[in-house]
């Protein structure tokens, strides 16, 4: 069974077609990147798959559960780290982790144990007692991802996880994302080409709401006849990509 399957998934906002007939299969444990420029439809795809918005037409299944008819079951197997940092600002790092574990259904004792484990493994010991709003951008983003992982999801959506981070924080976050490979199915949206190339098993290029092509970074370069990934992206996301 694939982790994610979509069939002609479409979202229209009045006169704007945000996502146009997405057909996609993502295997379990795969790290899949949705790459595209701003407004390409990446975040819309994530919002549809995580049941934040309803599709105009089409269907998707996550771990075999329909986003139209089995929203509760879908929500039980997914977790989302939104584009903006999503933490409870007045709660400490530990309290944030315990909260999300509790919301995931853990009893208080188990929530505490999971939070302690996350603090240990995520290197949060030095900031565990600090309120989230006092943390730096890098720490907040790391916490945001740790909050998404504490419920042990089968599918994790990372929407632009390194947006606005400095190089060191970005590389640290890359290492953490790489550690998830094989354990969790990860759907990563980004417009950083090197991020998609460095992290992903496969990459899907979205442009103007349409999925132009899917493949490994090497396959995409070969398909575009380009010697580097940036040229391949420009070719596939641009007008030539529509014709390919």
């Amino acid at each position: 069974m694939n982790a994610i399957e979509t069939k002609a998934l479409t979202k229209r906002y009045r006169d704007k077609l945000a996502l146009d007939g997405l057909d996609l299969c993502i295997g379990q444990g795969e790290l899949f990147a949705l790459l595209g420029v701003n407004g390409a439809g990446k975040s819309t795809a994530v919002k549809l798959l995580s049941c934040l918005i309803a599709p105009t037409s089409g269907e998707a299944w996550l771990m075999g559960h329909s986003i139209l008819r089995e929203r509760e079951r879908v929500k039980a197997v997914i977790s989302l780290s939104p584009q903006e940092t999503a933490v409870a600002p007045n709660l400490t790092v530990r309290e944030n982790l315990e909260l999300m574990a509790g919301i995931g259904g853990c009893a208080r004792g188990e929530a505490r144990a999971r939070a302690a484990q996350s603090i240990r493994e995520g290197g949060f010991a030095q900031v565990a007692g600090k309120q989230a709003r006092t943390l730096s951008g890098g720490w907040q983003r790391r916490l945001s991802i740790a909050l998404a992982l504490i419920t042990e999801p089968q599918i994790l959506f990372l929407d632009e996880p390194t947006l606005g981070l400095d190089v060191l924080s970005r590389r640290e976050l890359w290492r953490e994302i790489c550690r998830l490979k094989g354990r969790v199915t990860v759907v990563l949206t980004t417009h950083y080409l090197e991020e998609a190339q460095a992290l992903s098993d496969r990459i899907g290029i979205l442009a103007e709401g349409r999925l132009r092509t899917v493949g490994t970074a090497g396959e995409l370069m070969a398909r575009a006849g380009a010697s580097n990934f940036e040229d391949a992206f420009v070719a596939l996301a641009g007008e030539r990509g529509a014709a390919l």
């Binding site: 934040l52 918005i53 977790s79 939104p82 999503a86 409870a88 509790g102 995931g104």
Partner: protein, 243 residues
């Protein structure tokens, strides 16, 4: 239930850690009570007898609960944190209970502080204080529901204006607390009687006086309004959840 309790715990912490709002909500009604009682001491006529004033101030104080709940929900909606919550397995009922549960103890604490201050100022400390507190519960639910509704529909700035300014003034002027609404009469009195605030105050006064027959129909007005506003708030919140 774990989810609801975890979320309720978080909401309690968010409210309690917003010190300025909390101090204002708890302190302002007490200051009003002290101030008006001090004025009363220096005027020959009975303008603000504490037995009339205390139930009114207790109801007025609860209008700040709307501000707490409305601001909390509106701020949650404004940030990305709500996306994380809305993709969790929590249902609309878990969210709503999680918002409502921590506000009831706060409402009761606010009522208790108000009545204890009134006792300090001369209100007889009788057993009727307990039913007077109990009568505050449906009023608390009404104000919490107003906050839920405003927080589901408006931005935090708009909630600040609606609940912080408009609602507090409505619940002050149209509640029979500062002056008898019947002295104004006309449309003003009809509007006041059509809204729940004056009925909440009159029910409180009846409970404090041990006039059990006088509780009704005022309590029904409050319960009816609370149920109706809560139903609309649940509808509005569910719509928000569906995006």
């Amino acid at each position: 239930m774990n989810r609801t309790l975890a979320f309720a715990g978080r909401n309690a912490k968010e409210i309690v850690r917003d010190r300025i709002n909390l101090l204002f909500g708890m302190g302002f009604p007490v200051i009003l009570l002290l101030l008006l009682t001090a004025i009363q001491k220096h005027v020959p006529t009975e303008l603000f007898p504490v037995a009339r004033l205390a139930p009114g101030i207790a109801v007025f104080g609860l209008s700040f609960i709307s501000l707490f709940s409305g601001m909390l929900i509106a701020r949650d909606r404004a940030g990305a944190f709500v996306q994380r919550l809305f993709t969790s397995p929590m249902r609309a009922g878990d969210f709503l209970l999680g918002y409502i549960l921590p506000l009831f103890p706060m409402a009761l604490a606010q009522g208790a502080v108000c009545y204890l201050t009134a006792v300090y100022l001369g209100l007889p400390a009788t057993a009727n204080l307990l039913p007077a507190m109990a009568v505050l519960l449906p009023t608390a639910l009404l104000f919490i529901a107003i906050g839920l509704l405003c927080g589901s529909l408006f931005t935090d700035r708009q909630v600040g204006g609606l609940c912080g300014a408009l609602l507090t003034n409505l619940s002050a002027w149209l509640s029979d607390t500062w002056f008898e609404v019947s002295l104004v009469g006309g449309a003003f009195e009809r509007v006041a009687n059509a809204l729940p605030f004056i009925h909440a105050v009159k029910a409180g006064r009846a409970a404090l006086a041990g006039d059990w027959g006088g509780l009704f129909p005022h309590l029904w007005w409050v319960v009816g309004y609370a149920a109706a506003v809560l139903a609309v708030a649940v509808w509005a919140f569910r719509r928000r959840m569906r995006g």
